[in-house]
Subunit: 246 residues, 2 copies
DNA sequence: CGATTGGTTGATCGTTATCAACATCGGTGG
DNA sequence: CCACCGATGTTGATAACGATCAACCAATCG
């Protein structure tokens, strides 16, 4: 594994080893995957709803979001993705994308040909299982979002999002205990939570006034993690970060 | 494949062949899977949040729902499942369940040991890919729900649910063009849509008054499919029912 | 320096929740 | 057969939460 390749594949491997225990053989197969590197500017689309990509993206650096556009121009953000994530793994077996993915911050992704992934996963069942598991975690996060949207107030829902994003970044070494990058505009937060940006302003104000968090300069500061979790009714088990097949 | 086995495995195979084109070898492997059959009464749990099942369920008959319970006793239904679905396929690689599954109607499920699934998917990469694809469709449905919850009114959201459930039943031959089974209480609908049952009453009334649907006697009658789709802004592509790798 | 983007605040409106009473239906036992 | 019961669904009155509209402020960037 060359130095360059190393720098590129490292986030993916760090991510996968953070939630599972892949064998050396599987890690070698991952490291050997062919890819091309591409960079994107904020707001730029990586892939669009309706397309049939021939490769999967693995995030090397920066933030991406997945979203659906509605006829009236509305946008629902469905997920945020950070280094190590594979946001369009589903294109490997679904073909047509049912949503779009675009860059939230300047970002770099590795594009891995479907062909290569298909060959390797056919030869190495453990690799297939590892990536399949990623799809399952992806689905688990969506379940968490459905629950948050359906049954939590703006306040609890927003707290919940911060808990999730903080823990996911912690798990791959991208955040400190009480701080994490949070490069989201209020419109991004609004589109993710099914709220308006005006209401996000008020909600962030309320969270600040409660002494739980402050959000400034693209970073989240957590003043009271326990309080935040309580406000969010946050139970991290749905993130499936435990290695023991959790 | 014996007559008994046939009757049991048939729904699963019908479902899988409705969205993909598995090879004969894969179908044979599915038909050969060991299982035990179990029946449940409405309201009974099939598996519970926090458990680590050793088998996956495949629905043979009846309706199931998946849901998360909140500390305050609230319930968010995350998905409904009909014959042919595998509602807890994710337990194969995730271990701990992050939600519960219970019976909506009297229902029968086949319980397939993880061990058998692991062996077969390791030996038959195409089988693994087929089931992996099911996980991806599962995730796609959740994305549809997130979008519905976040950006649609009670009216549009409810219309959307009926569109989804009707099409999914049609795809596996469980519904007629303008009628489908809909054995849900208003509290089930409410818990699925993030609304109260009182508001569901009013919303159903509005849908009826618009001449789109009526819901009585556990069946949905669609008076105006195009109108319903329009009210729901329904785009069926997220169901990935197309066989051509759609 | 002005222009543009992102964030804040206040006033008002609409959708959905909440509370409460009542209606309907299917089943059960007298 | 009828009276009753529990579960489910309906309706109305009121309240809360979040949307909408509009003005304004702050930061960044040419």
């Amino acid at each position: 594994m060359s130095v360059t390749t190393d720098r590129i594949v490292q986030p993916l491997i760090r991510r996968l080893t953070s939630t599972a225990n892949p064998s050396d053989e599987v890690i070698r197969a991952l490291a050997d995957l062919p890819f091309t590197v591409k960079s994107f500017e904020p707001g730029q689309d990586i892939v669009r709803d309706g397309e049939r990509p021939e490769h999967c993206a693995a995030v090397i650096e920066g933030w991406l979001c997945r979203f659906k556009l509605l006829p009236d121009g509305g946008r629902q953000i469905i997920a945020f993705h950070i280094a190590g994530d594979m946001p369009d793994l589903q294109s490997l077996h679904l073909g047509v994308l049912d949503h779009s993915i675009s860059a939230v911050t300047p970002c770099t992704v590795a594009l891995i040909p479907h062909e290569a992934l298909r060959q390797r996963t056919a030869r190495l069942p453990d690799l297939a299982a590892l990536l399949w598991r990623e799809t399952m975690i992806d689905a688990a996060l969506f379940r968490g979002w459905v629950t948050a949207m359906g049954r939590r107030s703006a306040y609890g829902r927003t707290a919940h999002l911060f808990c999730e994003l903080h823990m996911r970044q912690r798990a791959v070494g991208l955040a400190e205990p009480r701080h994490s990058p949070m490069p989201l505009r209020q419109t991004d937060l609004a589109d993710a939570m099914g709220l308006t940006s005006v209401h996000i302003t008020r909600t962030l104000g309320a969270l600040r006034k409660s002494g739980l968090i402050t959000l400034q300069g693209r970073t989240l500061t957590i003043h009271d993690w326990d309080g935040l979790c309580q406000a969010a009714e946050f139970d991290p088990s749905y993130l499936h970060l435990g290695k023991a097949n959790g």
